[in-house]
Amino acid sequence: MHILIIEDEKKTSSFLSKGLSESGYIVDTTENGDEGLLLALDIDYDLIILDVMLPSRDGWSVLSMLRHAGKQMPVLFLTARDAIQDRVKGLELGADDYLIKPFAFSELLARVRLLLRRAPPRCNETLKIADLEIEFERQKATRGGNRLDLTSKEFALLSLLMRRAGEVLSRTLIAEQVWDINFDSDTNVIDVAIRRLRSKIDDPFEKKLIHTVRGVGYLFEDR
């Protein structure tokens, strides 16, 4: 997968490029809007990460030129401007997602994966990782053959973790996906919810499946 980063702040561009490369993507970077536009028109990228405030040509303009030229690759906006009008403008111009600085890299990664996957997340009837199995249709989870007694929100949380197994999910993303809460709260609600889920699916078993990535979020993985 080939990603173009158009970002004039060197440090940001460098950690994005490093993080994405390590996650297995091929990354090109450029620092100015004009050059970014030329590259994007020339090469068929799978995704463009675009800063709004850029020298020579701003992000809005790059996006509208791209769409005008018929390029339909997903574009993810990065910006320090979080006013609702700005978001609306970005999305109306044809951006596919919008991230406000400062953002968690894990969140950016999750969104990049979502955009690249494009197809809705797998909705198989059942999903099995290690000895943990969930049946989405019947809202039923078993581990090692034993039925797990989960509340509906716990089931939703486990479903999210299992569908995105191997990805570090930030607390913000979890709150948004499971509870539809789209603002940052100071509380440790997610931590408590994970702790309660763990007490049901991990604590009684030798093998732990839910892992904490300190300072970032949580990860479901069969290690």
Binding site: I84, A193, R196
Partner: protein, 476 residues
């Protein structure tokens, strides 16, 4: 160019633009002048009409005397009457002259020298102007009032006679013109004096205003504790001074809150930056194990999160303050939104064994995301202060012109002295700043901002040991 513009913009101030002292002085002088002019004009008129009436009465009484004598036919008496006319008052300014003419206009009797001074021709025709006096000025520049009367009828016993009486009123004229001069003098002086008195009174009257201005000028940001309402002000200014002092109270309060806010802000921002810096410095001071580095980086991430959350909250508050935030008001069901937030906090509430319920329902107009944030902040706060086994109740009630959302907990309560300040930024009831157990102290400030953005109202009641109740009112 600029000067020209400024000149053009300068509008000559109308009466309303004048200083109050000037207005008062002018009005005072104007009213005093009008009164003076009216009073002296009236007196002048009274004097003139009285004099004229007296003159006319004198003349007509003379005519009556002559008429009586003529009826009696006593020519001797007539002659005596005419010749001795002014003897009794030889020094008098008022001299009367009389003349009797026959039908054909021939002079029968007349006062001495009258022929030269007042010829018969200047007298009015008695047939046209019966009883009417006429003013006339002689060649010797003396002023006379003349009257002519016809006596007798067609009866043969009484021949027709013409009576001419003239009254010298030169002295009267001198008196009147002197009176006029005095009157004008008095008027001018009166107007000047009243203007002066007006100016002095107005200036004296306005002096307390200048004093109050000076008192206000003394007060600066660093001396907000000074008050104006200590001097003996005139009644009109007492309320102004009080209002001013009340404003100073509010300003002082805002200033102290602001300086408290800056101190808190500095603390809140410095702490994480200090941690980050310190950890990084120590980490770089020598080579370390990989997991030590990981540990430091993870700890840094937590600090970054804390900083960025605080930044978000502060930005939100700043925007709400400048009212640039557009709120997208939608009609929504309050209980649905509240239940959603309760579901989010379910795990936390279950952990603390606190039951959270929502009663009532109602439609309301609000920004859903902002409203959820309000409920989330309230619930998070309530959970924080409610002990194990407690209860938190949200209640929704439709009211006149809006909806009331209440949040009551069975927590520890808030002491009265803290209540007015709990919506201040960074305000925390316990002075210890333990970030792990409490937020940055911005939660309730955000609640207030959001309620303000919706033009709503907020009220708190609390009893220590029994719990706190926050009531929010959202207008429809």
């Amino acid at each position: 160019m600029k000067i020209d513009n400024a000149h053009q913009l300068k509008v000559t101030p109308g009466f309303r633009g004048w200083s109050i002292a000037r207005q008062l002085a002018w009005l005072y002088a104007l009213s005093a002048s009008v009164m003076l002019i009216f009073a002296s004009g009236f007196l002048y008129w009274v004097l003139i009409t009285t004099l004229e009436k007296e003159d006319e009465q004198f003349l007509s009484s003379r005519v009556q005397v002559f008429d009586l004598i003529l009826r009696a036919g006593n020519t001797e008496a007539l002659e005596r009457e005419i010749s001795q006319e002014n003897i009794g008052f030889s020094n008098s300014q008022y001299r009367a002259y009389s003349r009797i003419l026959d039908e054909s206009g021939r002079t029968l009797y007349e006062a001495h020298g009258m022929d030269r001074e007042i010829p018969p021709a200047v007298f009015p025709d008695p047939n046209q102007l019966t009883g009417k006096a006429k003013k006339w000025r002689s060649t010797a520049n003396r002023s006379y009032v003349l009257i002519a009367a016809q006596t007798g009828d067609n009866d043969t016993n009484r021949p027709k006679r013409l009576i001419h009486v003239a009254l010298d009123e030169t002295g009267e004229e001198i008196l009147v013109s002197r009176y006029e001069r005095y009157l004008i003098g008095v008027l001018l002086i009166g107007i000047l004096v009243s203007a002066a008195v007006g100016i002095i009174t107005a200036q004296r009257g306005m002096k307390p205003l200048a004093d109050i201005t000076r008192a206000a000028e003394r007060i600066t940001a660093s001396q907000l504790h000074e008050r104006i309402d200590v001097a003996q002000w005139p009644q009109e200014l007492v309320s102004l001074a009080r209002a001013f002092d009340a404003m100073l109270d509010r300003l002082e309060d805002s200033f102290s809150r602001l300086s408290q806010f800056s101190a808190d802000l500095a603390h809140e921002l410095r702490t994480p930056i200090n941690n980050l810096r310190g950890e990084a410095e120590v980490a770089l001071s020598k080579l370390r194990e990989t997991n030590e580095y990981r540990e430091i980086l993870a700890s840094s991430l937590e600090e970054y999160d804390r900083l960025s959350r605080m930044m978000d909250s502060l930005l939100f508050l700043a925007r709400a303050d400048s009212a640039q935030t557009m709120i997208t008001s939608l009609t929504m069901d309050a209980s649905t939104e509240i239940r959603k937030i309760i579901a989010f906090y379910e795990a936390l509430a279950a952990e603390q064994n606190v039951s959270v319920i929502c009663t009532g329902s109602g439609e309301m107009n609000a920004d859903p995301i902002l409203f959820r944030r309000v409920i989330s902040n309230l619930l998070s706060n309530a959970l924080h202060y409610t002990p194990v086994g407690g209860e938190i109740t949200f209640s929704i009630r439709s009211m006149d012109g809006g909806i009331e959302v209440g949040c009551r907990d069975s927590g520890m309560g808030i002491a009265q002295e803290h209540l007015p300040k709990i919506f201040d930024r960074f305000y925390r009831i316990s002075p210890s700043r333990n970030i792990k157990t409490e937020g940055a102290g911005l939660g309730l400030a955000i609640v207030k901002s959001i309620v303000d953005l919706h033009r709503g109202k907020i009220a708190v009641q609390s009893v220590v040991g029994q719990g706190t109740s926050v009531r929010l009112f959202f207008p429809a």
